[in-house]
Subunit: 355 residues, 2 copies
Amino acid sequence: MAPKRSTIKDVAKRAGVSTATVSNVFSGSKPVNAELRERVEGAARALSYHVDRAASQLRSGQTKVVGVLVPDLDDVFFTSLVSRLEVRAQEDGYDVIVASSRDNPELERSRLRALLGWRPSGLIAVPNNDEIPQILADEAHRLPIVLADRVAGISTFADAVTIDNHEAGAMAASHLVALGHRDVVIAASHLSFAPIRERVRGADSVLFGEFGEGARVVELGSNSDRGADIFADWLDRNARPTAILALTNVTTLAVLSALAARRIDLPEQISLIGFDDYAWMSARKTALTAVRQPVDAMAGMLWDRLKARIGGDDSPPRRIELNTSLQVRDSVRDLSMTANARPVLPRKHAPVPGE
Amino acid sequence: MAPKRSTIKDVAKRAGVSTATVSNVFSGSKPVNAELRERVEGAARALSYHVDRAASQLRSGQTKVVGVLVPDLDDVFFTSLVSRLEVRAQEDGYDVIVASSRDNPELERSRLRALLGWRPSGLIAVPNNDEIPQILADEAHRLPIVLADRVAGISTFADAVTIDNHEAGAMAASHLVALGHRDVVIAASHLSFAPIRERVRGADSVLFGEFGEGARVVELGSNSDRGADIFADWLDRNARPTAILALTNVTTLAVLSALAARRIDLPEQISLIGFDDYAWMSARKTALTAVRQPVDAMAGMLWDRLKARIGGDDSPPRRIELNTSLQVRDSVRDLSMTANARPVLPRKHAPVPGE
DNA sequence: GATTAACAGTTAAACGATTAACAGCGGCTG
DNA sequence: CAGCCGCTGTTAATCGTTTAACTGTTAATC
């Protein structure tokens, strides 16, 4: 690891110009004569010089980094968000530092602190839960911040981009109702997450309106393996519903695993609406009907808002709700024909013994 | 966005100490009296002070950042790698900057350049293809670099962590052969990727040894939707094999989609071995038999090597090959019983018209 | 009790870039 | 032709830390 890295001075000396000129060549903040520019670029190449971001940043205060904090880098929803944000950031010359809080409030704080140390131009954060960490709130008035996904109500201090969770739940429930389903169980991740609660409420609003009662809810957590166990167990102990509504892609997976383990056929024996829309959901014999979150639009919105804020927009915080859409495929059985003949599957039911 | 951020000087003044002491409190490079430390921490909290990484880095030369470059942040294999690396990095106090080269050599160069601008402590890179970019090679002797996955042969300038691709292919093929399969088609992503070629070779080595001929190979690319179209089309135009061996998780998905689109049943009508082992592969009625890459071990190895290099280890570059394992589940049909009665499905065959 | 050693804190010089202020040099204009 | 402008380039101050060198104090050693 020998040859010391070259600095702007080395380049300047080699090209026979001042360091200021070299800086201008690279930052483009002042025009530089073509011939000189050539010389500088040649010298830089020969020395394999790269501008040192730390020094550049320190002096200019211009960071060109954004921090992205998500609760879980193993959840495809978040990674697809990160992926799209990275693209947008790169297009605008920003680098992104990712951090995962792994659903741990303490880690969230410490990752946030680490991110702030970069003095980033902005921050895009998916909070762990409703309680926005104090550090974020403190920073909000001096640092552009945009929140996503897990945001409750109207955030008072930063823009927030979410989907219309209530509508998403309602839309799914309506679809189930329209196809003759009445006994629905909701596979939620955690009811402590605001968007999950909203989705439940949305579904219940429809079910209540229709039948005077809501859905049963099971919490499966954020890990699909554990969720599968929990749900399989739940299936063993409870009367079987005609349909399941999963509220995240992880719970969708958990439900699917549990159904496979218990050899319950989709959609013959039970119907399912999944959440999110990833390739594996349709790469199956009975493709999943699912609520599709507009991840692209979401990332786009997040980036646009952040750029606006970085650009000095100081209008009051906005909450932007994107609409989901229902991808109707084959995992919901149409019960509306048989519904009159045999109203609903009997509510009381011997537990199905484990396989 | 008003109140200026506080600096080490502000904290020093408020706590009535020198800036050096404040620095010592935060970096821990020199012991500081408990009472003073308290005062400093209190002052820092009151001013919501964070050490400025740019300044810190500039002065100390210590970066505590690693760059991670992958070809595609929408591929779960890479994101699961990133996720695990982020965990390890965080544990050791490093931050990670992610960059995706999106399978584009030019972008790869520019992302690499951006990453190098950080003067990172190290770099973990999954190259786009066999040709390691010149920038990387140039940097290799002054910057710890560890390569992963898409690395051909013995890399002469940096450590490389891969799986034993030949063995992986051979293992999968052996399994197929053992269950009476002879007519195998390999769903590859791109034959221009070294590991893919190796996997094909591994599979062929077994098939040749057994039958004197290898497998047919289809290239499906790195996008599952397009891959699904290509494969569905291929199925329409070619004699149907008894088994498919997919060589990446994306091609596994593509194959599954195509089979679903053509209503071909797994494993009754065709058998499949997938690659990688993600939850969605087993969350189905016929769970997929698949080659499992040890992503955890891989990330662990990558990090360990990088740490060693950062720590000054300058032994010659090593290539580390991890072993895969075959997760036997239900997607490969046992043909060995029927094999004698009806040797193999006829090779020549009218194309199956599209559904 | 003199000499060192160990400790805890301070001072001030870097680190490598950016950029305000300035300088030199035609070319225009009145 | 004086004065000014616009253009390109340079000089030098500066960003917020870290850290080598230093100072002063206390404890340990002979």
